[in-house]
Amino acid sequence: MLELKNVNTGYDGKDVIQDISFTLNDGQNLCIIGPNGCGKTTLIKAIAGLLPIEGQIIIDNKDMRKMKRREIAGKIAVMSQLSNIFFSYTVYETVLLGRYLHMKGAFKGPSSYDKNCVDKCLKAVGLLKHKDRQINTLSGGQLQRVYLARTLAQEPSIILLDEPTNHLDLRYQAELIDYLKEWSSKDGNSIVGVLHDINLALKLADNFLVLDKGYIKSYGSASKAVTNDLINSVYGMDVVGFMIDSLRKWERIANF
């Protein structure tokens, strides 16, 4: 269970998000939505422990501030956004790094369980046959999936995602969301994600948190939190009208 109580945080002493409180029960997925600059990534970073906070973040009834880094990493994993690769590793080596917490003995190699786990995660993201490739030879979408496999290899109970579908084509976007949905349906796993595509968010999430200028505008199930008027006012446009208009165009193309 993840609980945030009156969390404020930001950069250089300036709060970007303020008074954030919510509870996410085991097995529930949460999507954070809102316009650019509203503090979505900052909130993800705060939950990951990457920013100092005011207030409280409670993971499985324990205050995050009283937990060791390894203990937090055992419960929460973050799927990284793409960044520059300075030194290239193979796909297999990269995913194996997700087993850091679980690997015993600093001088020992990976156990057979670690190896199987890495293979399983690579298979899940469809990259098993590319395991010996260098990551600097992969496309953005493939690299995104490598990072997802590494996140899964960490075996957390909560995964934090920050725009995970950015570099993926439509097919992989749908596959990723399906896979995450399936992953979160087991063992009380949860996902907290920032997704720009509201259609994908609706597919993945049980709960929505709508952020506006660093504050919670609404929180709850889709029907409760994502009302037409609220979304339109947060994004400053007719969101639903825009989507329906797009769908009508597709319909015309499909029926041509």
């Binding site: 990951a48 422990g49 994993a77 300075f86 001088f107």
Partner: protein, 340 residues
């Protein structure tokens, strides 16, 4: 399989280069005679008839300690550079980035100018001062960074390191100006040399490098994770600040110990890690030991060139590492890149 073959080739290169380093010089000693002398000294096997007593003395008392010291220093500098590049996530970082060479030079300068000799350490007074001042500089630079930036971000570390280096270099310039009669000695020390180094230097430096190497291999997973960025390493469970202190401290200690014995020798710490990564990939479990072997072999080769090319005079080995290393590095780095 390919990696195993490369490891085997690297070990063979090291053996060949070491035998060359011991055998070649003003008096040429054949590889058979070299091995015979080593076996005689280590296991009391009989000497070959054609091996003269003078050759035994040259090989055992001069060439072997010099060659081994060059190998150890090269290995220490190379592995230190590897760690710095990975921790600071900067391919241009080196073991000198945090000012260890400037600090060590000031320490050496104090001993050269004042001529002091500590009672117990005697001839090791200079290395001791070099090491202490080198480490002190790094300690101050990292502590200052921690005060300025709680997260100890890489950019802050590099900037503070550069500022400290420039500041300490200014002190060194002042010292040189005040003690002009020692300026030549100081400049030569800064260029690096392995001449007149004895077994005692090897005996001190060898365990330091071995311990450093073992500890670094222990942290190879953390080093791998750090190359992906601090946030990623942190969320996987690495205690970033603690690990950074350990790795930067250890890297500085290895460089400080190495250069305090032989003076400042550049370039190896920058190129060896890149050459190793080109052939062995980036995993530090392989990169760390291979950096030691290739860095060591390269240093022995450079020292061999430095002492034979204008024999009986010697060139500063620091100049040779750059003269030989720059084109070699360019060839290895850019030819591989072209293939891709």
């Amino acid at each position: 399989m390919k990696t195993k073959l490369y490891i085997l080739i690297t070990i063979l290169i090291c053996i060949i280069v070491i035998v060359m380093g011991i055998g070649i010089g003003s008096v040429y000693v054949t590889p058979e005679a070299t091995i015979n002398i080593i076996m005689n000294k280590l296991f009391s096997t009989p000497l070959l008839e054609e091996v003269q007593e003078s050759a035994v003395s040259i090989v055992w008392n001069l060439r072997i300690p010099r060659t081994l010291l060059a190998f150890i220093v090269g290995g220490a500098l190379a592995v230190s550079g590897t760690v710095m590049q990975s921790v600071l996530k900067n391919p241009l970082a080196s073991s000198y980035t945090l000012g260890v060479s400037s600090g060590a030079s000031v320490g050496a300068g104090i001993v050269i100018i004042t001529g002091i000799s500590l009672p117990f350490f005697k001839m090791f007074t200079l290395p001791l001062f070099g090491l202490i001042f080198g480490l002190m500089t790094v300690f101050l630079a990292v502590s200052f960074t921690a005060k300025l930036d709680k997260n100890m971000s890489n950019n802050t570390i590099i900037l503070v390191g550069m500022v400290f280096s420039l500041f300490i270099n200014a002190i060194l310039t002042l010292m040189s100006a005040l003690g002009r009669e020692h300026i030549q000695q100081l400049i030569f020390w800064q260029m690096g040399s392995f001449s007149s180094r004895e077994w005692s230097s090897v005996a001190i430096l060898f365990p330091i490098v071995i311990i450093g190497l073992i500890v670094l291999i222990r942290y190879s997973r953390e080093l791998d994770l750090l190359t992906f960025g601090e946030d990623q390493a942190y969320t996987v469970g690495v205690e970033i600040n603690k690990i950074k202190w350990i790795l930067l401290g250890l890297s500085a200690a290895l460089t400080g110990s190495a250069i305090s014995f032989v003076g400042v020798i550049g370039f190896i710490d920058l190129i060896a890690p890149h050459v190793v990564r080109r052939f062995f990939g980036s995993s530090h479990r392989i990169v760390i030991p291979m950096s030691v072997l290739l860095g060591g072999a390269f240093m022995v080769l450079c020292d061999l060139i430095a002492r034979t090319i204008i024999s009986p005079s010697e060139l500063p080995v620091g100049a040779v590492t750059a003269l030989v290393g720059a084109p070699f590095f360019a060839y290895v780095y850019f030819s591989k890149r072209k293939v891709r």
